[in-house]
């Protein structure tokens, strides 16, 4: 059994808008293992994005605790969270979040400039198959290409964990598969722990471990004995 990388106990998140309290997480206990590709599956609003944001140090829990290895994320200051994100975490977002006025290479350099031991931006882009599109601006790239730039940006700092929030949510099946292939390759070749949020049930087939979410709680955790190739996945 590989070592634990994320652990949480009774993780709860409440959003208060005016008089209304919305429970995004209702006491989540979770264990995730290093080097695994985990898929968090569930309908929208089930709390998976909130969990990912807390694990990624983007958001804070209302109650409960979460650890990254031995470091308690829920006890960190803003400054410590910033350093945590900078040193350990790579993010991939549904809407890519590329800076429109920077080229593919420059978007990756946003990360390599502040990382401790980054790979060259061109190498990161080559890993996602974009070595010919280095100097294109986001507007000159297709959606799938943009998402692969975002993945290159996330892995360029050689993060220990890669957190992907609906990475294929805005893509059609064909380009989505290219993105999944890139993720699979990174997980295999670099050994990066990867967590992928999706409400696309087809993607679960490529995971080591699948965590099902419903209504702010984990409803089921399943381990895949055999994993499918991304190219076998369609939607």
């Amino acid at each position: 059994m590989s070592e634990l990388i994320f652990r949480s106990e009774g993780l709860t998140k409440v959003y208060r808008t005016g008089d209304v309290s919305v429970y995004a997480l209702r006491g989540v206990d979770l264990r995730l293992h290093a080097g695994e590709l985990t898929v968090l599956l569930g309908p929208s609003g089930s709390g998976k994005s909130t969990l990912l944001n807390i694990l990624g140090g983007l958001d804070r829990a209302s109650e409960g605790q979460a650890w990254f290895r031995d470091a308690e994320l829920t006890a960190m200051t803003d400054r410590e969270l910033t350093v945590y994100r900078r040193d350990h975490v790579g993010f991939v977002f549904q809407f890519y979040n590329l800076v429109a006025s920077l080229t593919a290479r420059e978007n990756v350099e946003l990360v390599t400039e502040i990382a401790k031991d980054p790979m060259p931006a061109a190498e990161a882009l080559a890993m996602v198959g974009l070595d010919k599109r280095l100097d294109h601006f986001p507007a000159q790239l297709s959606g799938g290409e943009q998402q692969r730039v975002a993945i290159a940006r996330a892995i360029a700092k050689r993060p220990e964990v890669l957190l992907c929030d609906e990475p294929t949510g805005a893509l059609d099946s064909k380009t989505g598969v290219q993105v999944l292939e890139a993720l699979e390759r990174i997980n295999t070749e670099l050994g990066t722990t990867t967590i992928v949020i999706t409400h696309n049930a087809g993607i679960q087939a490529m995971a080591h471990r699948v965590v099902f979410f419903a209504d702010g709680r984990i409803s089921e955790v399943r381990e895949n004995d055999s994993r499918a190739q991304p190219s076998d996945i369609t939607w």
Binding site: L58, F91, V99, L110, V111, A115
Partner: protein, 789 residues
């Protein structure tokens, strides 16, 4: 080292938003420009002045006398507080300048027999001073020589105390006493018809019968010496010898003019720049707020990537600083260029040995600091919002802004406003701060235009009052000394003279309580029509009996109203002190005048009526004959041709007014465009989805444009009355700050001034809104609907 990726993004953002950035930078540049101009020129002028005064030993106390024995000098030097005292002979002369038909006037000043003057040292520009033993050599002011085309060796003739003499020019010079050169009775410098002449003391003493005597003394004071204490002491010593009343630099004619200019520059540096900086700060605030909203995603991303709050703040602060930097560089460049022009203009009006605009660090440093601070303050709010945005929240689209139904909505519903009008109205009530500031900024543009365009009206009023109601004479013939009645008869018989009226100048100190002013009373005959004074309503007023009329500013300085009594200390003759009632207040724009009846004054002084000046109306066809005769008339010290003054006044002023008006229109347009263009771009950006949705729903381009432009035009219209009020106050403040002992401006506000200012501003705001409106035409409806906020 390669540029940071974020900095590259910044430069590209700036390039993409160049029009908005430039619009802000130009407003900021106005503030920087005026600071560079005003501080730079003021310091250059002040330093030049200080160095010139010091190097050429400009005196600190001055006094004239009729004829004082040289032996008094020891006594004067012994006065406490006096460091240096020097006596001179100063006289008025009539000059016959080749090529000039009318007589010119000169003031001749003696040079000491040995050595150079200890005080008021002339600065020789060309040639040399006259030889000590010469009787017909003379050095003249550079301006006089230049205006008449004289070079060393040229000759002209002068009437020295009734004796006509041919003089040879040995050189030209400048003097710290005559930086601003105004001939007797003149209102503007006229270098063709007035010059200062230097001659050896011995020659002048002989010509003016002042051997062993002097009629002018200058003092320099010790470090502890105070002019207020030395002046009365000097007056006491000179009183028996016809002392004309000592005065300090504060009353020295040339010095007053330069001080007035320095005061104006200081006021310029204090009043205008803050307005521009506040508006720039507002614009930076408005634009940055929008950028931070638009870049929520980027802010969230940067934070997610591990960029610190400081790095995020730095990114947006850099944006503000770069906008400021562009404005500062433009402001520096234009400011330096204008400053050089202004320095050139000063050399036209003032006689400095050198006056170059010396671009020194501090005016640049101060203006740059002010610009950066303004942009920085404008950025604070946006930067703070960016820093406070939690990364997870930053990456989801913003909630729609909350609108509330308020009083204005109920009014609008009641008035059955259309939905587009409701959108316009709610846009204003939703962001009341932004709307208020837009109104204020646009109104500042209106105010600026008004305060520039009221100027010509005010000058018209000055010309009308001073030259057509009060000083209606064609010329003034100035006498070498006061004379009795028959001189008027002599003048009346000169060829071409249609009418002649005598006027007396009586140097006095007027006192009321502890307030006093040293002036010359103008005494005229009650039936005088060529030269007279008028009251506030423009009606002529004449002093009744033994009463005195004061000009409005003199009455204000002395805190006197009609019915009060003032003490008149006469500075000539028997030096009587009279107490006379103030009968009226006159409206006068030049000088601090006081007016009495000539006959009544003579009775009070127990002497026959005197004349210092004869005002004439003349037949201009026969001007040459009149001038020729005047040159031969003994006792005439010079002529002032008022018909020429009128023309040159108009010409000088209208040239400057035109320049000023152009500059102010430009500035007002920059402000208006800065505010409305940025406002329109931001609205378009905020409402792009809304407007596109409306287009999809079937609204026409015009209807959609109305929503976009409606708010701005409504704000521009609301700004008009506020601008009128501000402009009125600006103009009034200008009138007040302009008013000095030398001149004042009437406060004239014509309806056309309001209208012109509003037209320019409304046109500029409509134009900038229309430029943005064109973008609605190219709105890609599908793309807009697809993009996330």
């Amino acid at each position: 080292m390669a540029m940071h990726v974020l900095d590259r993004k910044l430069l590209r953002d700036l390039k993409r938003m160049w029009a908005q950035v430039l619009a802000i930078a130009l407003v900021l540049a106005c503030g920087v420009m005026i600071l560079v101009l005003a501080i730079g020129v003021q310091r250059s002028l002040q330093d030049t002045l200080d160095a010139y005064y010091e190097r050429n030993r400009f005196a600190e106390v001055f006094s004239g006398a009729k004829r004082a024995p040289e032996s008094l000098l020891g006594e004067i030097r012994a006065l406490p507080g006096v460091r240096v005292a020097e006596t001179r002979i100063v006289g008025q002369v009539v000059l016959d300048v080749p090529g000039l038909s009318e007589p010119a006037a000169g003031r001749v000043i003696s040079l000491p027999e040995i050595d150079v003057p200890a005080l008021n040292l002339p600065l020789v520009v060309t040639g040399r001073p006259p030889a000590q033993d010469s009787v017909d050599e003379v050095m003249v002011t550079r301006a006089f020589a230049d205006a008449n085309g004289f070079v060393a060796g040229d000759r002209f003739s002068a009437n020295l105390n009734g004796r006509k003499r041919e003089l040879t020019i040995t050189g030209t010079a400048l003097s710290p006493e005559y930086i601003y050169v105004l001939g007797p009775g003149a209102m503007l410098p006229d270098n063709r018809r007035f010059g200062v002449l230097w001659m050896p003391r011995r020659a002048l003493a002989a010509a003016f019968d002042l051997q062993g005597a002097f009629n002018d003394v200058s003092l320099a004071l010790t470090r502890e010496g105070r002019a207020e204490e030395v002046i009365p002491a000097l007056d006491r010593i000179l009183a028996p010898y016809g002392g004309a009343g000592a005065y300090g630099r504060a009353e020295q004619a040339s010095h007053i003019f330069i001080e007035g200019e320095l005061t104006q520059l200081r006021a310029l540096a204090q009043i205008l720049p803050p307005i521009f900086f506040v508006i720039s700060a507002f614009l930076v605030n408005m634009v940055l707020a929008r950028i931070v909203t638009l870049e929520r995603g980027v802010i969230g991303l940067l934070k997610a990537l591990g960029y610190s709050d400081l790095a995020v703040a730095g990114h947006f602060l850099k944006f503000a600083s770069l906008v400021a930097a562009i404005g500062i560089v433009i402001g520096w460049a234009v400011g330096s260029w204008l400053a050089q022009g202004m320095a050139r203009l000063y050399t036209e009006f003032f006689e400095f040995p050198y006056l170059v605009f010396d671009p020194r660090g501090d005016s640049y440093a101060i203006s740059a600091a002010a610009g950066l601070v303004a942009a920085g303050l404008g950025a604070v709010q946006g930067v703070r919002r960016a820093v406070r945005m939690p990364p997870a929240v930053a990456m989801v689209p913003p909630a729609p802004p909350t609108f509330k139904r308020g009083l204005s909505d109920r009014l609008a519903t009641w008035a059955r406003f259309s939905q587009p009008s409701m959108m316009v109205l709610r846009g204003i009530t939703r962001w009341p701060g932004r709307a208020t500031f837009s109104v204020l900024a646009i109104s500042a543009a209106v105010a600026m235009l008004m305060s520039a365009s009221f100027f010509p009206d005010s000058l018209d009023e000055i010309i009308d009052t001073s030259f057509f109601r009060q000083n209606r004479q064609d010329a003034m013939l100035i006498l070498t000394r006061d004379q009795t009645e028959n001189v008027v008869e002599d003048v009346r018989h000169l060829p071409g003279v249609i009418a002649a009226e005598p006027m007396q100048y009586l140097p006095v100190v007027l006192r009321h309580g502890h307030l006093s002013r040293r002036i010359a009373i103008e005494a005229r005959d009650p039936d005088a029509t060529l030269s007279r004074v008028t009251d506030a309503s423009g009606q002529p007023v004449a002093p009744a009996g033994g009463g005195i009329i004061l000009s409005d500013r003199l009455a204000e300085r002395l805190a006197v109203k009609p019915g009060d009594k003032v003490q008149v200390e006469v500075l000539t003759g028997r030096r009587d002190t009279l107490t006379v009632p103030v009968t009226d207040i006159a409206t006068v724009y030049f000088g601090l005048g006081a007016y009495m009846d000539r006959g009544a004054l003579a009775r009070l002084l127990r002497s026959p009526p005197q004349a210092s000046v004869v005002n004439i109306a003349m037949d201009r066809q026969r001007a040459d004959a009149l001038y020729a005769a005047a040159k031969e008339t003994p006792g005439l010290a010079g002529t002032v041709l008022l018909f020429q003054t009128r023309a040159s006044f108009r010409e000088t002023i209208s040239r400057n007014v035109l320049n000023t008006t152009v500059v102010y229109i430009l500035i007002a347009v920059l402000i208006t465009v800065g505010v409305t263009y940025n406002g329109a771009r931001i609205q378009l950006s905020e409402r792009a989805r809304e407007l596109a949705s409306l287009r999809i729903l079937g609204f026409s381009r015009a209807e959609v444009s109305y929503i976009l432009m409606g708010e701005l035009m409504l704000l521009s219209i609301l700004a008009q009355p506020v601008g009128w009020l501000l402009g009125w106050a600006f103009a009034y403040a200008q009138v007040k700050s302009f008013s000095s002992d030398l001149y004042s401006l009437p406060f004239v506000m014509n309806p056309a001034t309001y209208a012109k200012a509003s037209l320019v501003v409304l046109a500029a705001s409509a134009a900038s809104a229309l430029i943005v409106r064109r973008r609605i035409d190219s709105l890609d409806l599908v793309a807009v609907m697809k993009t996330r906020e």
